[in-house]
Symmetry: C2
Subunit: 408 residues, 2 copies
């Protein structure tokens, strides 16, 4: 079949086993109803009653497929066919959402993994016994009491069970518009950008907004605004592929008739390389100091947080690319600008991700959407990748499996 | 004497009656102790126990000087010698402060007026019977429940007693650095700037700070920052003498990893003429729209408040200037960039103000300060002006009095 074909891909896929698209789509709809909102969005913040209900539902769904299911002490939900032997290929994502999130972010990856597991089991495919699926706890970090997100995957990698895991695959929606704009059905993710946040504090002098002569003002808000405007240019000059944002702006004391004495920005840079992140930080600090001098203010730039960039495993990326080609989808690779559990796992086991497009680039919002055809196509690509991985067993064998696959 | 003379001006003043500087300064110290802070500042927000205690103290001080005192239903405190006949020349200011304010703002004008009243009375000068002194209620508007300041003077002008008032004089600290920088002891105030506030709302699109391509972002914070930076240039191009401030900046939703979808600024312009204020508003709106287009956002600029500019009475300004010259102080005129009760009164009766310098331009802060010599000098100038006004009686007589005064 080709990417433009019917809604039931996989019938002739390399593995010879096809996922059941309607079943996948029905599960997505059922899960979206748990914490579902009238506007089509989903409220399923980690630890909320809806999130816990969704995890119960998932466990029941895994068990209903004749598989084993369990939950670890963190809250991660797992599934496996009985009688398998490790080490396992882990596949999945998370079922928690941001407040007012969409029906696909995280949920798609978990349900695609479930559909692959039960399809392989129904077809008595031996790869089923090498597959484990997961819904990680609190990926989003949206609860005020959350430890910042990626909680379940981080705890998982610090625990014992990671020793039984040979690799990790995470299907996910892109959450941006690049694939839709380029007309791409599936994309192999090269890695996840590193994310550095910096706090920029401009300190001026609080003063009377009428009586203080304009030329003598040490206006922290004006200095901060000049830094804010420059952030995009600093990023573009450092690495045209990087992203930058100033999402938090605080101006004190915050009265119409008082010259602001202090202003605070949180600047975020995302780039595929540490070198770009460090260069952007240095340029930000230099620019803030120059602006501050010009505005009679002082500037401090302090690192707030640093999430290291991730590079995914070349062997797994090769298998995903092969699966895409087998489904008639040209292989496209891209960097993820959003963080994912796969970023955590990649520090411990060979890891890769597969993206499906996000309509309009919308995510973390009720309008989050991916066409059904692409959701099913991504699920089939996951199944084919799992089977190819099972055939290969290690990187060398994977290579030989790839060459065999090209002849099938 | 000259402006550079000793600390006891007035001995040879035109009126021949000298205020008692030590008594004035001692009263300033006593009043500053009511609501006084360890750091030298004053907490006497209108309606607070300290403000009410200060008004009680003032009434007792007026009565102790052998004068009548009363409080109107608004809370304004008045004083007069017994047996006077209206219409009266009113003099004074206010005794309430901002939180953490200084010892002089408002208090100086009230206590200078008190010193003039009791000095005239002690000297049996007939001008005493034409003078009334006042401490207006809630000039600052610093209480959360305040009606925005200028409460007492506004109520006073809406009441019956304003009909008995022939003119108003308000001594005050400059609250800015201009006089100190220019080495000026006293300044006659031409008028008070008008103050327009505008709310600028930039509306973009809330989005993921990683996955949204930089070129597609409708970043409301970036648009707002560009407008903020331009405000000072808009003001300078419109009227080099005007002041502009952006004291309030709000960026929503306010998360490091979310492209801001909305940003709000409060822009304040202060200028001596309505024409300048209107032109600045038009240029602000035009610039905000142009920036918004460039940033894929929308802009709205809405008037938030408008305080009309005040022009003070030429006759009274002439008398103040004459008094300054009589004390050896060159006549300097300036516009007030801060609002005052005199701005309210000027809409109803001939009004003028006299400024003394503020050290370092500091006001509304514990470090608020004016050298004692200038405080006493201003008080003497007020006395001489009251006497000159009493001699003149109306604008034509004032003119002839001025010419007589020049020969004395």
């Amino acid at each position: 079949m080709t990417a433009g074909g019917d809604d039931r891909p996989g019938g002739r896929a390399g593995a010879g086993v096809a996922v059941r698209g309607e079943r996948l789509l029905a599960d997505i709809a059922r899960l979206a109803a748990i914490g579902g909102r009238p506007d089509g969005g989903v409220d399923r913040v980690a630890g909320s009653p809806a999130d816990l209900a969704a995890r119960d539902w998932l466990g029941a769904r895994i068990a209903g497929a004749g598989c084993l299911t369990w939950r670890d002490t963190t809250g991660n939900v797992f599934g496996r066919v009985p009688g398998g032997t490790g080490p396992w290929l882990l596949a999945g994502s998370h079922t928690d959402t941001v407040p007012g999130g969409g029906r696909l972010d995280g949920a798609y990856g978990v349900l695609a993994a479930l559909e692959v597991l039960r399809t392989l089991r129904e077809n008595d495919h031996p790869a089923a016994r090498a597959l484990e699926i997961v819904s990680f706890w609190d990926e989003e970090g949206a609860s005020p009491t959350s430890d910042g997100g990626l909680v379940g995957s981080t705890a998982f990698c610090a625990g014992d069970h990671i020793a039984d895991i040979a690799a990790f695959l995470e299907p996910h929606i892109e959450q941006g518009p690049r694939m839709e704009q380029a007309g791409i059905d599936l994309a192999v993710v090269d890695g996840i950008v590193g994310i550095d946040r910096h706090t920029v504090v401009l300190t001026g002098e609080t003063n009377h907004a009428g009586t203080t002569p304009m030329a003598r003002r040490a206006d922290a808000a004006r200095a901060a605004a000049r830094v804010l405007v420059a952030v995009r240019d600093i990023a573009a000059a450092t690495d045209p592929g990087m992203a930058a944002n100033v999402g938090c702006v605080d101006v004190l004391p915050g009265a119409p008739n008082v010259v602001p004495g202090e202003a605070r920005l949180v600047v975020e840079f995302r780039a595929a390389t540490r070198a770009a992140l460090d260069l952007a930080a240095a340029r930000l600090a230099g620019h803030a100091e120059a602006v501050a001098r010009d505005e009679l203010c002082a500037a401090t730039v302090t690192p707030l947080s640093r999430k290291p960039e991730s590079r995914f495993d070349p062997g797994l990326r090769g298998l995903l690319g092969k699966a895409c080609r087998g489904l008639g989808v040209p292989v496209t690779s891209m960097v993820s600008f959003a963080g994912h559990d796969a970023g955590v796992l990649s520090g411990h086991v060979p890891t890769a991700m597969l993206f499906v497009p996000s309509t309009g680039g919308i995510s973390h919002a009720p309008a989050e959407h991916t066409p059904d055809r692409q959701l099913v196509l991504g699920c089939q690509a996951l199944l084919d990748t799992v089977v190819a991985w099972w055939h290969g067993g290690d990187a060398r064998l994977v290579t030989s499996d790839l060459s065999r696959g090209e002849q099938s």
